[in-house]
C-alpha cells in the first residue's frame, strides 16, 4: 500500500481555510485518481472527507438510526467497487450522494418496515418546548437542546411520506441546497422547491395536531367542521 502525500491525507477540517473551492476540487480529483489506481489510503481519505455528509444524507432518509452506520459502510463499499468506472465528469460528491440515495431507497424497499408512530407520543412538556422553539427568533444554542428538538421533530417527521421527510431533513437539518437535492434525487429544481414547500405544510399539519392535543390549548377537543 503506497502512502498518500501528507497534504492529501490531512482531514478536511484541517485544510487551510484559505484553500479555494477550486483547489479543494482539484485535490479531490487527485485523490480519486489515486484511489482508482488502487491507493487504499487515498480512498480512506475520501471516506474521511465525506463521511459526515453521507451520514447526514442516510440518516435523513432512513428512519432507524441503528441501520445508518451499516448502510453508510455499504455505500462506501459500492463506491470502492465501482470507482474505476467513475469518469470524473461530475463531482465525486454528487456521484457518491446519488449512490447513497439509491442505497437508502433499496434498503427501505427490502425492509418494507415502517415503524408505527402514534399521534400522542409527546408529553405536554415536550410539545410546549417545541412551541417555544417555533415562536423563538433564534434557534437554541445548547447542543443538548438542539438534539432534543431533533428528536421531537423526528417523531413528527415519521408520520410523513419517505420523500417528504427526506427532503425536509436533507434541506433544513443536513444543509443540502435545493440544487444539490435536485441532482442527487434526479428531480427538476422547481419540482424540489414545490415539494419542499408542500412538505413543510404537511409537517405543520402534524405539528398543529400535536398542539391541539395539549390540554388548555384553545380549541383542544373541538371537532373540526
Amino acid at each position: 500500500m503506497t502512502r498518500v502525500p501528507k497534504n492529501m491525507a490531512a482531514s478536511a477540517s484541517a485544510l487551510p481555510l484559505a484553500l479555494s473551492r477550486r483547489e479543494k476540487g482539484e485535490q479531490e480529483r487527485e485523490l480519486v485518481r489515486l484511489a482508482q489506481s488502487g491507493e487504499e489510503a487515498a480512498f480512506e481519505e475520501l471516506i474521511r472527507r465525506h463521511q459526515q455528509r453521507v451520514f447526514g444524507l442516510v440518516s435523513g432518509i432512513l428512519r432507524r438510526r441503528e441501520d445508518v452506520e451499516d448502510v453508510v459502510q455499504q455505500v462506501f463499499l459500492k463506491v470502492f467497487l465501482s470507482l474505476k468506472k467513475f469518469d470524473q465528469r461530475s463531482a465525486f460528491s454528487t456521484w457518491l450522494y446519488k449512490i447513497s440515495v439509491n442505497e437508502c431507497w433499496d434498503y427501505l424497499r427490502k425492509k418494507k418496515v415502517r415503524p408505527l408512530t402514534y399521534e400522542a407520543d409527546m408529553s405536554e412538556e415536550q410539545v410546549s418546548r417545541l412551541d417555544g422553539v417555533a415562536s423563538a427568533v433564534s434557534p437554541p444554542e445548547s447542543p443538548n437542546r438542539r438534539a432534543e428538538v431533533r428528536d421531537l421533530l423526528e417523531r413528527m417527521l415519521e408520520t410523513l411520506p419517505d420523500q417528504d421527510r427526506a427532503l425536509l431533513v436533507l434541506k433544513e437539518m443536513e444543509g443540502f441546497s435545493v440544487e444539490e437535492l435536485a441532482v442527487i434525487l434526479d428531480l427538476n429544481v422547481n419540482t424540489v422547491k414545490v415539494r419542499l414547500f408542500r412538505s413543510r405544510a404537511k409537517l405543520m399539519d402534524v405539528y398543529r395536531r400535536r398542539l391541539k392535543t395539549k390540554p388548555g390549548f384553545p380549541g383542544a377537543g373541538e371537532t373540526k367542521t
Partner: protein
C-alpha cells in the same frame, strides 16, 4: 388567519403557480423582479400569506435541530477494514470460480454420457430379445422355414408373414 398564527387551522392552500417562489422566499433566495411580483400577490392572497407563514415556522423548527454528528475518525478505518474483508472474500470466490465452472461442465458431460449409455443398452437389449424370440418361435412352429436359406426372416413380422404363407400353401 394572521400570518404566523399557529393556533389557527390552515385551510386555504397556496396558489400552485407561486409555490416555488414561496419556497425561494422561505430560503431567502429570490430575484428582485420575482419578489416584487410575489409581494404584490401576497397582499391580495390570504392562502399564500398563511402558507408562507407556516413554511417559515417549519423552517425555524427544522433549522433549530442538531445536524447529524460526525461519526469520528475511527469510522473511515473501520469502513476500510470492512472493504478489505469483502475484497478478500470476493477474491477467494474468484480463485475458485474457474474450478467450480469446470466441475459443473464435467458433471454435465458425465451425466449426458450416462444417459446415452443407458439408452443404447436398453435398445440393444430389446433387439437381442426380439432375435431370441424369433429363433424360438421358428424352431417350435415352423422348423421348415429355417431350412430355406433364401427365405430367412429378419424380424418377427416377416416370420409371421412367412408362417401365414406357409399355412396357406399347405391348405
Amino acid at each position: 388567519m394572521n400570518p404566523g398564527d399557529l393556533n389557527a387551522e390552515y385551510r386555504t392552500p397556496a396558489c400552485s403557480q407561486y409555490e416555488a417562489a414561496l419556497e425561494d422566499y422561505v430560503n431567502g433566495e429570490f430575484a428582485d423582479r420575482e419578489t416584487a411580483k410575489l409581494k404584490e400577490h401576497l397582499q391580495t392572497c390570504s392562502g399564500c400569506t398563511d402558507a408562507l407563514a407556516e413554511a417559515q415556522v417549519a423552517a425555524r423548527l427544522l433549522r433549530a435541530a442538531e445536524p447529524t454528528v460526525d461519526p469520528g475518525a475511527g469510522f473511515a478505518r473501520v469502513t476500510m477494514a470492512r472493504i478489505r474483508a469483502e475484497m478478500e472474500t470476493l477474491e477467494e470466490k474468484s480463485i475458485w470460480r474457474p474450478f467450480v465452472s469446470l466441475a459443473w461442465k464435467l458433471s454435465a458431460t458425465a451425466a449426458l454420457a450416462l444417459v446415452l449409455l443407458v439408452t443404447f443398452d436398453v435398445k440393444h437389449r430389446d433387439n437381442r430379445l426380439d432375435q431370441d424370440e424369433l429363433a424360438i418361435m421358428a424352431a417350435n412352429e415352423a422348423p421348415e422355414l429355417l431350412s430355406d436359406e433364401g427365405r430367412q426372416p429378419s424380424n418377427r413380422d416377416e416370420m409371421l408373414i412367412l408362417m401365414a404363407e406357409e399355412g396357406h400353401a399347405k391348405h
